[in-house]
Symmetry: C2
Subunit: 466 residues, 2 copies
Amino acid sequence: MIKLPLALLAPALAAPLLAQAPAAAPPPPIVVAPWIHALRDDALANDRYAFDITEGLTTEVGQRMAGTAAEARARAWSVAKLKAMGFGNVRVETFDMPVWVRGPESADILAPFAQKLVVAALGNSASTGPAGVTGQIVAFDSVDALRAAPDAAVRGKIVFIDHRMMPTMDGSSYGQFGAPRRAGPTLASQKGELATVVRSIGTDYHRNPHTGVMGFTDGARPIPAGALTLPDSEQLVRILKRGKPVTMRLRLESTTIASAQSGNVIAEVPGRDSNLPPVLAACHLDSWDQATGALDDAAGCGIVTAAAKRIMDAGRPLRTIRVVWFGAEEVGLFGGLDYLAKHGKEPHHAAAESDFGADRIWKVDSKLGEARRDEARMIGAALAPLGIVTGAFDEAGGSDIGPLLDSGVPGVGLGQDGTRYFDVHHTPDDTLVKVDSAQMRQNVAALTAMLGVLSGGIAPKSRVRR
Amino acid sequence: MIKLPLALLAPALAAPLLAQAPAAAPPPPIVVAPWIHALRDDALANDRYAFDITEGLTTEVGQRMAGTAAEARARAWSVAKLKAMGFGNVRVETFDMPVWVRGPESADILAPFAQKLVVAALGNSASTGPAGVTGQIVAFDSVDALRAAPDAAVRGKIVFIDHRMMPTMDGSSYGQFGAPRRAGPTLASQKGELATVVRSIGTDYHRNPHTGVMGFTDGARPIPAGALTLPDSEQLVRILKRGKPVTMRLRLESTTIASAQSGNVIAEVPGRDSNLPPVLAACHLDSWDQATGALDDAAGCGIVTAAAKRIMDAGRPLRTIRVVWFGAEEVGLFGGLDYLAKHGKEPHHAAAESDFGADRIWKVDSKLGEARRDEARMIGAALAPLGIVTGAFDEAGGSDIGPLLDSGVPGVGLGQDGTRYFDVHHTPDDTLVKVDSAQMRQNVAALTAMLGVLSGGIAPKSRVRR
């Protein structure tokens, strides 16, 4: 049995009494315009734009590591694609950034049981050079356990840091259990370790390691830092449990380029009133280097661009919709920060981003401000038929748009189901086959309805829809 | 509705009639001894031997490529383990064989869309050397399509051969769709191709390529031959569909050793009557080099050895149970052929093998001969409570024991559920985490009951169980 809240039952129970007393004014009803329902449902049933963009970008460009020639090819592809789709003001805003490039890598257990483990360097790892570094493994269950260890116990050794991340629908476990990658290498360096390997901050049990960016803070000297796959991490734990000293030769070669070009690709659906602030719909164009970045974040670019295109197909919105395919997100939000520097002082009506795969949206949060509560409620009402619940009115998030939201730009946060996201995220498995096109269409439907509300109504050739 | 065969309904329907007429003599009832039920059910609930062997071999040795130092370490590990478990006559029978050793490998699309694909060389591939070979890709859906192509269309090119293998419970699709790997390279060589890449003969959609042995027959000159993962094969198909010439640089380095040592590890549960032929329970010790060979075939060694050990724990069987962990199965059945050469003329009561992972057994076939039909029926009756159906009485199979069965040795074939076997088989994903210990115990229970029947009864310290 499902218990209904008493409030839902109350109107019927209390009706006779209320009929005899003056009632409080009910909140104004939220009526979603029929054209929004129609655009949303058409996207849900028929969208091909999102998958087409995702398929094209991952097939014709492949991986798009920030600051590399591949990301430059991706920008050229994106400009051509967005122009071909009919977007206006298609342009690239470039910026410079440092680049870290992966080289050959291996992790060999030399003793007591000689065997190879599968490893990937973390972004910004120091290079071991071709000879690698060899040292005894010391293992810790968490960064806290490493912190508590005396420096003498780990100095000159290779530290392995484990963790217990499980999948969560909202993806919050990635933040909660990500300390081995984010804080581990700096702490290891400060304690005088030779190198560090962490259990991949992911949830899949295939031999595909999870990379990701990290940085050495507080003046810590860079050391080699890599991630073992989950099966290899558990293998290492089993080997350690045998109680004999374990020696590893870790080779993580890499090179760095002090400064290279990246850029944000920007395209617009011009609004009828160019004096009104635009609605920003974001994703990021760059990917990690181990796969084609289908879910992270070609799919996001496909979803937001498909939604904007569907509005454009229907007519002309009141406000401009600005689509931004940010560059260099993975390696440090360089694109988001460049946009903030160049456009942060301009007003924006709202910003939203798709950067959490392509599985179904289950919740919509927003932070449009108290005065725009009805607009926020309208978004919730427009998305509810997709099985999307309305969450908070004082919250919105997004990776590339994070700096912009922090600066005070209003935002909408579309929460996707992240249960299987960290099975493929940042691993060699982030390829097109992992995109569920039916769930992707639900995303496009939600974004289309959201943009329908935020853009303030569409004028078709014959009349203004409102 | 499930239709019952009329024969099942007949006794009830026909009882009044039959009561008035002389009945044909019913077949003698098959009564499984209570001690067999007890041993089987104890294995199902409590076995730890099989997982312990699988965990130990994969952890303390890792990969065990035939003819390498790793396989030699595996033999030493196995001898120590089997002696520690109390087996008798533990010994190694060595033989020599040629060895192929994998080197660095890569598959780079150079044009029209530069990107890296994931590849693994097939066993016995020619080496490309460090520079690799570069050529245009020509694609075929099947070996038959390649065969039909004019030689001029493929000469000097790199041929990609696709296929449509889907998982099947009995694993038969592996044979049916495996032609690209088995026949493809020879055909490609005969047609003057530069090299060949095939879609992995597997069913998983992770970026872990499926290797396996192949040979160049009919005097064909060896050429480089590799397997792309399923996601990479489908990526290549998408790239080809764009209609522009596709160029690949394929690097598959390898070395060969003309002759190196491998060997079969043999251990016995000595029978009460040493004049009776032994029951052979087989698996193979070697593995492919990309993973720890947990399912192929450490698990098989765990299962057959656990079953023999459980018989030994209960008492002394009438017939000797001979456990053989064959060497060099993957690369050409060298161990099975060596055993046949050395022991093929000795009588064997029966042979059975576990070499298809550790998922549940669903069927038992046998080929014990017409005179031993009751023994075969007894095995079926002993296994039925595990949800195992009795199949054919004129069929038995097994990889290492294949030559022995072909020579006329009676056999029992325990059919495991292979639906997910080719998700991990011969790929980097064949590691311990893929072993389902509950299903593994069902295997041990079945093998224990089978050995209970075939070994002819156990004598405990106090009395003979029969």
